[in-house]
């Protein structure tokens, strides 16, 4: 039994030639809308307890509309949403706070709005007060609060009771970093106890860190539902998509999915990793000097050519990335037909594990405006520890030790 079942969901905003025709429909009189604008259609997915799902998509893709229908503020035009528990949303923290009331009174009001009885709120009040950590301000009027204090109280009350589904907006990056850690900790605790998370974000890192599944919305429909890495790669390709750009997705031998996108005005011919003696390597020892060789071919006249690469860990989290724009060595007006070989020489000061390299050809400092080719999973290599003392983590930063006793 799924916690949340969304079936054939669709939402249309109806415009009538005259508002009186709309009013007539309330009284079951027949009248046709002059225009129907579908913002969402044919949405199908379900969520299991404890799952964390990221919802991504460009502005206007229908993310908020979908979330509003899940929380129940908007009614679907067609289809149905079946929810097997309480939903809490951390979308607009501090919504409905009255500046003339104290923090405590506002907590009462906000928790009441969430549907809790006076007795339940009174029971949770000490926890809320303790979690917000704003001291005596809790009994001062909210207008004297800093915005951070208001967020603390708002978050404390929004998460005072464990919901079955928690909707988190990317706007959660408010407040100081101490409280951010604390709030993420609470969200994680909820998840361990079986709460499902629905996270809306543009932040690749947050999605990949928190979610075990992602759903990509585009033009009101789900165009991808799968592993966060795969979906985020596709999303990345999508936001750089131009008129004549193409996005291809192919399954690699190991089962992972590679996304290649771009206008193909310049293309990546080969990507390889070499050791100091020039041999192609797949296994690299911690700290070894290596060379990432990329050959790019210019196919059409372009104003400038910048190449960038990004090393990601096995979870897809960025470890290191740079490009020739940042390194002040971009090529201006390359000749069509020219092939350029780049060699990026660096020491593999990485922790033990598997890493992937994404390579992109573009103009300017990022791939959003002009993307010639973006290739995810262009190369995969493994770092092994054969010469160093044992250590943990993503980076190799050997210290020297001084012991004073």
């Amino acid at each position: 039994m799924s916690l949340l079942n969304v079936t054939n969901l669709g939402k249309a905003y109806r415009t009538y030639a005259s508002e009186f025709q709309r009013i007539a429909t309330w009284f079951y009189l027949p009248s046709k809308p002059s225009e129907e604008h579908w913002v969402l259609k044919d949405i199908n997915f379900s969520i299991e307890p404890g799952e964390a799902i990221g919802i991504v998509g460009q502005n206007g893709a229908g993310k908020s509309t979908l979330l509003k229908m899940i929380t129940g503020t908007l009614q679907p035009t067609v289809g149905s949403i079946h929810v097997g528990g309480r939903i809490a949303a951390i979308l607009e923290l501090g919504m409905g706070f009255n500046p003339e009331l104290t923090g405590r009174q506002n907590v009462f009001h906000a928790a009441g709005l969430m549907g809790f009885t006076t007795a339940q709120i009174e029971g949770a009040m000490p926890d809320i007060e303790a979690f917000a950590e704003i001291g005596e301000y809790f009994d001062e009027t909210v207008r004297t609060y800093s915005s951070g204090m208001q967020m603390r109280v708002a978050f404390a009350v929004a998460t005072a009771f464990r919901p079955e589904i928690l909707i988190v907006d990317e706007a959660l990056s408010v407040g100081d970093s101490y409280f951010q850690h604390k709030s993420f900790e609470r969200i994680r605790e909820f998840q361990e106890q079986g709460t499902s998370l629905l996270i809306v974000s543009h932040d690749r890192g947050a999605i990949q860190k928190l979610c075990d599944r992602a759903i990509l919305l585009e033009g009101g429909t789900v165009i991808k539902d799968g592993k966060p890495e795969e979906v985020m790669d596709y999303y990345n390709a999508l936001i750089s998509e131009k008129e004549n750009a193409t996005v291809t997705v192919q399954q690699l031998a190991d089962g992972s999915v590679q996304t290649v996108s771009g206008t193909r005005e310049a293309t990546i011919e080969s990507v390889s990793l070499h050791n100091q003696s020039g041999q192609v390597v797949e296994y690299v020892s911690v700290g070894d000097a290596v060379s990432l060789r990329v050959t790019a071919k210019v196919n059409e006249a372009i104003p400038e050519l910048v190449i960038g690469y990004l090393i990601k860990d096995r979870l897809g989290q960025p470890v290191f990335g740079t490009n020739t724009h940042f390194m002040d060595c971009k090529i201006v007006n390359p000749v069509p037909g020219e092939a350029v070989e780049y060699r990026f020489n660096f020491d593999a000061n990485l922790g033990v594990g598997s890493y992937s390299v994404a390579v992109a050809l573009h103009a300017d400092d990022n791939h959003v405006a002009r993307n010639y080719e973006w290739r995810d999973l262009a190369l995969v290599f493994n770092v092994v520890n054969s010469s160093k003392k044992e250590f943990v983590g993503l980076a190799w930063m050997q210290p020297t030790v001084e012991i004073n006793r």
């Binding site: 905003y13 109806r14 508002e19 709309r22 009013i23 309330w26 009284f27 509003k68 929380t71 129940g72 503020t73 908007l74 009614q75 939903i87 949303a89 979308l91 607009e92 919504m95 409905g96 009255n98 003339e100 009331l101 009174q105 009462f108 009001h109 009441g112 709005l113 969430m114 549907g115 809790f116 009885t117 006076t118 709120i121 009027t141």
Partner: protein, 264 residues
């Protein structure tokens, strides 16, 4: 309808605390705080009394008290204040709470109920203040005051009915919000609050009877000024109309609620 009531019941704590909050915030940062709710209508009564008492006081039949006109004014404004407060607040209720309705999921019916509770509280305080003034002016309260309970309920039903219909319409047709205050002003002067019903020319009486507030305000006058039981025949008709309007209002509210969030 059953779902609406169940939602309301489970949110009863929220409704009560909201009414209390509205009351408390009135006291915030002003010296007299909630007293202003009483001072305002009483000041209005004082102004009318000062300006019009010589012109109109003589025309109040069957009143011996020298302050009869002031008492008459207060009785009428007690009813009118409740009526106009509910309508004025309902008119913009959904627009004001648009953001909340878009972001939070809660039974929408709580919003109009909170307004009714808050208005009733104000009205009760105004009544207490008026009874004090009545006593000072030599008019002692009697058991007839109990009539005010059903009369108040009739005013609330009428206000809720008209207010809900107008409030829902105002979400879609914003002109409603502009035209209603004007219509309310006209209705005020077509209700015998400032002047006695007896000065209305007979050819207008038929038209005036169409005004549902006419019979209610007259009943308030009977109870508070003339110390007699109101004319049940007319009140029944008005009460029935009020309840019908309230049912229509609730029906429209329920049907329009999903689209209301789209339009806000």
């Amino acid at each position: 309808m059953y779902g609406m009531l169940r939602g309301l019941w489970s949110y009863r704590g929220f409704v009560l605390s909201s009414i209390r909050n509205e009351f408390v915030t009135r006291f915030a940062r002003s010296r007299l705080g909630g007293l202003w709710m009483i001072v305002n209508p009483l000041a209005q009564v004082a102004i009318y009394a000062l300006i019009l008492s010589n012109v109109l006081a003589a025309k109040l039949p069957g009143i011996t008290n020298t302050y009869g006109y002031a008492i008459y004014l207060m009785a009428g404004s007690l009813a009118w204040n409740l009526f106009s407060e509910i309508i004025n607040r309902y008119l913009n209720l959904f627009i004001e709470h648009g953001n909340l309705m878009k972001k939070m999921s809660f039974p929408r019916i709580t919003l109009p109920v909170i307004v009714v509770g808050s208005s009733l509280l104000n009205n009760a305080l105004l009544l207490v203040a008026m009874l004090l003034v009545f006593a000072l002016l030599g008019q002692m309260p009697s058991l007839l005051l109990l009539w005010l309970i059903p009369l108040t309920m009739a005013v609330v039903a009428l206000g809720v009915g008209i207010g809900l219909i107008l409030g829902v319409l105002n979400v879609f047709i914003r002109d409603v919000g502009q035209v209603v205050p004007i219509l309310l002003q006209i209705l005020f002067w077509f209700t015998p609050i400032v002047y006695p019903a007896t000065i209305i020319p007979s050819y207008l009486r038929g038209t005036m009877d169409l005004n549902p507030m006419f019979s209610i305000v007259s009943a308030y006058h009977d109870v508070l000024v003339y110390a007699k039981a109101p004319d049940l025949g007319e009140i029944w008709l008005t009460a029935t109309i009020s309840v019908c309007l309230m049912i229509i209002g609730l029906f429209m509210f329920r049907r329009a609620a999903p689209e209301m969030v789209d339009a806000l």
